[in-house]
């Protein structure tokens, strides 16, 4: 009984507001536009993330850092130090934004956050690996080197051409008694010495023309290798 006047009041005031036009229905295009904007944002963000992930993988192949964890604890240390952390932090930030946007959809919020987050991360990593296997980044890096990439040129030159003092991607040019001679992408020659302590995760069957990553300190044109491993091939621009 007590609720009756109140009920009537809410009902009446709403209908009155509708009638006098102070409350208006939003048109359907407004919602269609908003949904399209959200979907576009998600797709763009996902592509950006995949691009950044593929760039990180490309850069790590380019510098040789991708391969050093197979050289044991020191290799893992060098790997962690050489990770492009700024790009990784940007990626994490984008993943959080993407996850927040995706969770507006029932397929995402009905499941635990862990599942949708793993889905997003998995998509980014797989997409990144696929894109990094294409010549896209090599093409951009080549253009950046030649000054023909105005927008992302600095990014490619900064990350793609950096070198770490203990990670050396190179090509074998001659076999010696206790190691081999090798050449950097810029033509500089180095002598690599293999000792009994050198880690050789893929064996020691080296021959001229092999692309390798050498792990060790560079001193006066020579490296006493802590680890050496063959890689399929150096990225085109390091040859």
């Amino acid at each position: 009984m007590n609720n009756e006047p109140q009920k009537k009041s809410i009902h009446d005031s709403i209908l009155k507001a509708i009638e006098n036009g102070s409350v208006k229905m939003r048109p359907r295009w407004y919602f269609v536009g908003r949904t399209a904007l959200l979907a576009t944002g998600i797709v763009l963000l996902a592509f950006t993330l995949i691009y950044i992930a593929s760039f990180i993988i490309f850069v790590m192949h380019q510098t040789g850092a991708w391969f050093v964890p197979s050289f044991g604890f020191r290799g893992v240390q060098a790997f962690l130090i050489s990770l492009p952390w700024v790009l990784i932090l940007i990626s994490i930030m984008f993943i959080v934004i993407l996850e927040t946007l995706v969770r507006r959809y029932s397929f995402a919020y009905r499941r635990p956050l862990l599942y949708s987050a793993l889905g997003v991360i998995g998509l980014v990593i797989v997409g990144g690996l696929v894109i990094s296997a294409t010549p896209l980044h090599s093409y951009f890096l080549r253009n950046a080197r030649e000054g023909r990439l105005p927008i992302a040129g600095d990014l490619y030159r900064g990350y793609g051409m950096q070198r770490f003092h203990d990670i050396h991607p190179c090509t074998i040019t001659g076999i010696t008694k206790n190691g081999f001679q090798a050449q950097y992408s810029d033509g500089t020659m180095i002598t690599v010495v293999i000792t009994p302590e050198t880690r050789l995760p893929l064996g020691s069957d080296f021959k001229v023309g092999d692309s390798v990553v050498v792990f060790g300190e560079h001193e006066s044109g020579a490296i006493e290798a802590l680890g050496v491993r063959k890689i399929d091939q150096l990225p085109p621009d390091t040859k």
Binding site: N3, Q6, K7, S9, I10, H11, S13, I14, L15, A17, I18, E19, V23, K24, M25, R26, P27, R28, Y30, F31, R103, R104, S106, Y109, R110, R111, P112, L113, L114, Y115
Partner: protein
Amino acid sequence: MAEQRDEDIALMVQRGDTESFGLLVTRYEPKMLRYARKFLFGFGPDDIKDVVQDVFIKAYMNIKSFDTGRAFSPWLYRIAHNQFINILRKRGTEHISFFDADTLFPHADHEDTEIRRHELAELKGMFDECLDRLDPKYREPIVLYYYEEVGYQEISQIMQIPVSTVGIRLKRGKVALKKIFDTLHPHHE
């Protein structure tokens, strides 16, 4: 004659029969008022009325976003949930976090309507006395489940959390309520 479905009325409103919106208001006003009273503690009757009125106004403004192939009730409750959470955030007396670890991992869940009815009869006194002291993240599913008789799936839709999290929040909410009750009545068996 069978009563018109909410979704059919919503479709009529979408097509321009704005008067029919009044039918939806009449149907849902008591539910919305109860939901607001149980969830928003410390508000006077006039404030509650204003909040519910805003919920209906938002529902009207956004009615063209409603998919008439789906149930109307969770859609309206979702609008109410957003409105209530915004008000609690603005008031700032209760902490409403943007992230909740409950939603992170999967939990086992099950729902039994009979248990719900039995529990409500048994625990109603405790709920009525202690609900205002409960964290809003537990209070809301308890209000929706026990008072509004909304199922796990719909609560998941309203709060946009995993279905299994609904179960875990209800369970933890009841445990927290019992603790509050025991603190208030130390000699109660």
